[in-house]
Amino acid sequence: MNSGDTAWVLISAALVLLMTPGLAFFYGGMVRRKNVLSVLMQCFIIMCVLGIQWVLFGYSLSFHPGNGFWGGLQWAGLNGVSLEPYTDYAGTIPHQAFMIFQAMFAIITPALIIGAFAERMKFSAFLIFTLFWATFVYDPLCHWVWGMGGWLRNLGALDFAGGTVVHINAGIAALVTAIILGKRTNLDKNVPAPHNLPFVALGTGLLWFGWFGFNAGSALAANGLAVNAFVVTTTSASAAGLSWALIEWFRNGKPTIFGVCSGAVAGLVAITPAAGFVSVIPAIIIGLLVSVFCFIAVTIIKPLFGYDDSLDAFGVHCIGGIWGALATGLFASKLVNPAGNDGLFFGNPKQILIQLATVLVTVIYTAVVTFVIYKLVDIFVGVRVDEKTEAMGLDLTQHHERAYTVLE
């Protein structure tokens, strides 16, 4: 057991937890002000519900060795998850430190999907959907990619900190829910402006800060690999924020703070799977290019197909995640991480195919199961609020609160 490693992983867990409130403000600033509390509420209640789900059975389903497809319930209620190291996952920190670090990933992933159905989903339906989605989509996929015996892990897929498990996964679920939930009312007449861009910037800052725990913490030790992940993470975010601003500048005449924030988050998404396998120059390339792909996704592809992914959970997280997963297959190098593998540019073309296969499996599995869960919830409780409720806003109708007073 190593006290430095343990301290770093515990701090990282706290950093990753902070990303969910960060995301709440990132998303909350983008919605109309009648719905800002509903977004904050959805993020915070996920911290409550999944915080319990994870220790009761989520961790066991995801990380108990089990078989290739699921972990089983042997570790339910943290039975057998001790304060001693579990060497198959992390040899120098208590098993429970690993468990609680992973809990924060399980919390933020379903929170990312909120961006797709913001401003129109019934709170009760959201709760049921989220719990089922975490249990039947996140936990199995997490096991496949990261769990001992997981079949994608055995295939040799490289996903350092959750590009596939977190971002592609949540991004695809976002697209599916956005399409079947339908557009917000009156969207064709008036695309609502974000009600508080300073909140978006605040949220971006918290996400960027928390992402050091997300990526550098995924080294599960306070070592050189963690430093590599830390350096490439912030470099990629810088490159992507700059790149998005430049694209806007050339295309629309003015760079925007909303653009820089979107770019920085896209850069953080894209570097996530690669953070422990690539060096700094590839990180700049990954960051510069992710903004190009995500910009095309949210400004050209979204209007073309007409789905209402309200806050671009798909456009940023799925597109950025897929680019990151494939870029890992291009730029990964054993010089950075001997436990990883070489990518295409380092003489191993096979890795890009493994990465591609993992992306495809994730997209298909997540899309199908998300669709089924959504339909079941819709049948039993109804997913979408009625038009009048949507017009009044979810804050007043779902929570009997409002964020801002007009008179004192």
């Binding site: 009648k34 009156n186 007043l396 009997h400 609160e401 409002r402 007009v406 008179l407």
Partner: protein, 113 residues
Amino acid sequence: MKLVIAIIQPHKLEEVKDQLYRAEVNLITVSEVLGHGRQKGVTEVYRGHKETGNLLRKIRLEIAVNDNYLEPTIKAITKGAKTGETGDGKIFVLDLEECVRIRTEERGSLAIG
């Protein structure tokens, strides 16, 4: 000359603007107000403390028109804002004594258009 004051639902503003443009009424002033009529407001709860009859957000439009534009204006607002439910709002019409365009110092019906 008349001054039309309308109180409408916030989410109907875009449709009302749309209808007004179609009726060639382009000069409007919009403000955000609070109020309630028969809709009796909303209930809010803060840490278990329940407040009933709270005021709802509404939009107030002010439009100064020449007499021949009055009916088209009223029709446009009604068409854009009506849902048939309580809370759709009201239109008030007042006589307007004078209107001055500051830039040119024109007065009366010339200044309105």
